[in-house]
Subunit: 486 residues, 2 copies
């Protein structure tokens, strides 16, 4: 593989200066404002400029009336202007030595209107002629915490190993914000929209070669060049784990795709076959993608499929066992000698000591929970442990806080210091009072390096998907998998 | 059907007095306290007594040292004593003229210990001899808002049409609390545990005859008498909608069931066939059960499967269309004449006017949203409308609140006054700041009579399940379904 710093798109992620052209001065939460808020919040440490024909000032920053009035040189432009003036902006950019323009602007080929399709072709024509690369139009552009570029002030400032290519801006925001709450951090996220110039293949090739990216997550609506896409994907899967969410896999979804990014969606069967053949983890929703990312990042790979489930509640124990076994994971019975050890200090009444281990009666007893956990986590019959807390089953919200505080004091142990991989199911609450206690618990688990899932089903599903992937990869290494790419 | 007031179990739900025997005086949030908190919070308006050999006082209520010291007569006892003294408590109850004892107490047959299985038989033997009915042991008992009996102070005080029979206490609490947040209200909820005396058949027969119950939701781990269960279910489905969640449908789940309520779980295939044959809506989780309840209660039955999806976000539009079509619902394209009407006041750039209708650019424009909604809701091509708000896709949390306030002012119209059935997808947030705004929006939708779902998948799944059920029921009425019970 090439050195990351030699890739032709590297410059995109490290602009020396940025201009936001077409930023709105009027409303405080207009969509054009998020790019400025991002630069401010991330303390962008190179020059940046605001441009709007109306001039004025936003948050103490001068607004230049035109690009040519900007005193310094400009590397990177974020275009927030109308589609009609996009091509003209590129001409102006050429005069300032700009190397790339990201057009957030919508209203091009995705509208399916002849005149607007033409606007997009004109844009491409000018950009090619002037040697300027275009991201978009109709997208959110680049989030690269390392270079302090972010299309939302709410994104994490630290970098991480996940690279994302998303044809949808909204889906990329959703992914970053929700995954960030679960401890996922990103190397580069690119929302690339209509892909009139830089497309999914260029970006995938870039991330495949990027030393900061270990996992690649893709949200793809449609592709421009199937052969190259397949080849690039195949290359990417050699050294990185790839997760794919295909948008527009149904007739209705495909119509939405056409209206969204003007792409051709392709059939479900084709995409499924592609993922299977190339060893790509295929997911059906962003939530599922996040669950898989969390598993890949935080769950040390279990050596097998035997789970020890540990939590409070008899009914909850039954349901989580069903969810795990329904997805091909195993919940083997706890042997009598282990049960006997727990019974030395635990009453049999109200606790179920089989597997799942239900410690309902000991929920407020830290010592009991700790000792039980230590015993079951040494049991050789289990390959990994899942602790579950279903706060919604407590009769009063007050119990949630007390129990979680207790539990978290136990799980301040780092993942790597536990005898087995441990995962945590912590069901969130929409009641603000409970939400706060649960959020604190989630953050505490994350800082201990635990993967956190929001439901029994989500945990079972993601762990199974990752184990499937791992099993398939090891077969591949051993040459047993005849279905591997040839 | 018999008149509800004649059923032999009616007395269970309307005790004239209650005693909590074995309530703990020490810890404020001990599990035995929830029953007292329930009586206080629900302002139980008949006499109630606390009993514990230690005596003392809890929250200003005298604690009697024994049942026989209680001055008045007692109808209903909630037994919180140890399993070892349960049978003796029943003897004492007989002397006070008690008619029913609910034993919350665990530590009986579910432990699989010979001695404790014997304790349960002894309990049953004494109760039968003394003519006292037993609920449980190992359960939460009765929630009946009409008679101010509740095993959690956090449950709603108003009654509603849903009756619940749950073998698990925790699952019944989870169901009531989570469903209550979505507007579901209950007639009677019974957590019945080991079912040593009163069992699922007695309770199902009761609810089938209860005039206050229109929908019956069952969480069943195992049954005592298969033939009677089938017959009672068949009777129940004649006049009520029945939803079933079978716990312990896998090997691991069945082991958990044995440890939980000592019941035999039965095979998945048997249960599936039963539900199919009797026209019961079968669900796989409590979350799914709640989604179905919300649909049955709040979505006027759509005349067909054509959905008009309406929300913000191109990527979100693609994904929701996929979720709906993947589940057999249809997302037909919006005809040009309707699009033309919307285009009179909406820019084409940044909005997708197909179906889904994506009004991204008009998110902060109430008039635009309202006019668009009015136009699409009159379109004959759609049988129902689904509005979706994915707050996690907004770049900054501040947008959530502004957008939701705007949207809610539009959806203050009552469900019945809209031209078509309307459902709402409102994704919750675990961030306390956003959680508050979203909870307010959820409550606003509920007070307008809208069903609220937490994800695209949940909405699609539940609406499909209910449409499947409705279609099957109408075939049955027309005599087309040869698979109906004979």
């Amino acid at each position: 593989m090439k050195n990351a710093h030699q890739h032709s798109l590297e410059f995109l992620f490290h602009p020396n200066s940025v201009a936001l052209v077409g930023i709105t001065t009027a409303e405080p939460w207009h969509w054009t404002r998020t790019f400025l808020e991002g630069l401010i919040e991330f303390e962008f440490d190179r020059p940046f400029y605001l441009v709007n024909p109306k001039g004025g000032e936003i948050k103490g920053h001068k607004v230049y009336t035109s690009l040519k009035d900007v005193p310094g040189s400009i590397d990177h432009v974020i275009g927030l202007v109308n589609a009609q003036v996009a091509a003209r902006l590129v001409e102006e950019c050429a005069e300032k030595g700009v190397r790339a323009v990201h057009f957030c602007t919508a209203g091009f080929s995705e509208t399916d209107e002849e005149q607007r399709i033409k606007l997009e072709s004109e844009l491409v024509e000018v950009a090619r002629r002037k040697g300027i690369r275009i991201i978009g139009p109709n997208c959110m552009g680049i989030y690269c915490p390392q270079s302090r570029l972010s299309f939302s002030p709410a994104f994490p400032k630290e970098s991480g190993p996940v690279g994302v290519i998303s044809q949808s801006g909204g889906n990329s925001i959703y992914l970053v914000r929700q995954a960030a709450l679960r401890g996922v951090r990103f190397s580069k996220v690119i929302s690339y929209g209509n892909a009139c110039d830089i497309n999914e293949n260029d970006l995938l090739e870039y991330l495949a070669n990027d030393v900061d990216t270990k996992i690649i997550a893709l949200y793809i609506e449609g592709i421009k060049d199937g052969k190259r896409f397949r080849r690039t994907l195949q290359e990417a899967t050699k050294e990185k784990t790839v997760i794919m969410l295909k948008g527009g896999a149904t007739e209705g979804g495909a119509r939405a795709v056409a209206g969204h990014t003007a792409a051709l969606a392709g059939s479900r069967a084709t995409w499924d076959a592609l993922c299977k053949q190339l060893g790509i983890i295929s997911v059906g929703s962003i939530e599922e993608m996040i669950d898989v990312l969390v598993t890949l990042l935080f769950l040390p790979i279990p050596r097998g499929r035997n789970a020890l489930l540990f939590g409070a509640g008899g009914g909850a124990s039954v349901l989580i066992a069903d969810e795990f076994e329904n997805r091909g994971l195993r919940v083997p019975p706890l042997p009598q000698e282990i049960v006997a050890q727990i019974l030395e200090f635990t009453p049999v009444a109200g606790n179920i000591l089989r597997n799942p281990v239900d410690y309902s009666q000991g929920m407020m007893n830290l010592e009991g929970i700790s000792k039980t956990f230590d015993i079951v986590s040494r049991w050789e019959g289990a390959d990994f442990l899942v602790t579950f807390v279903r706060t919604g089953q407590f009769t009063v919200p007050q119990i949630t806080e007390t129990h979680l505080n207790l539990l978290m004091s136990r799980f301040s142990i780092k993942q790597g210091h536990l005898p087995k991989p441990v995962a945590m199911v912590l069901e969130p609450s929409i009641l603000p009072k409970e939400a706060e206690a649960i959020l604190a618990a989630i953050r505490s688990c994350i800082s201990s390096g635990l993967p956190v899932y929001y439901s029994f089903a989500a945990a079972a599903n993601a762990i199974n998907l990752v184990l499937n992937h791992t099993e398939k990869q090891s077969k591949r290494v051993l040459g047993e998998d005849s279905g591997s790419c040839s």
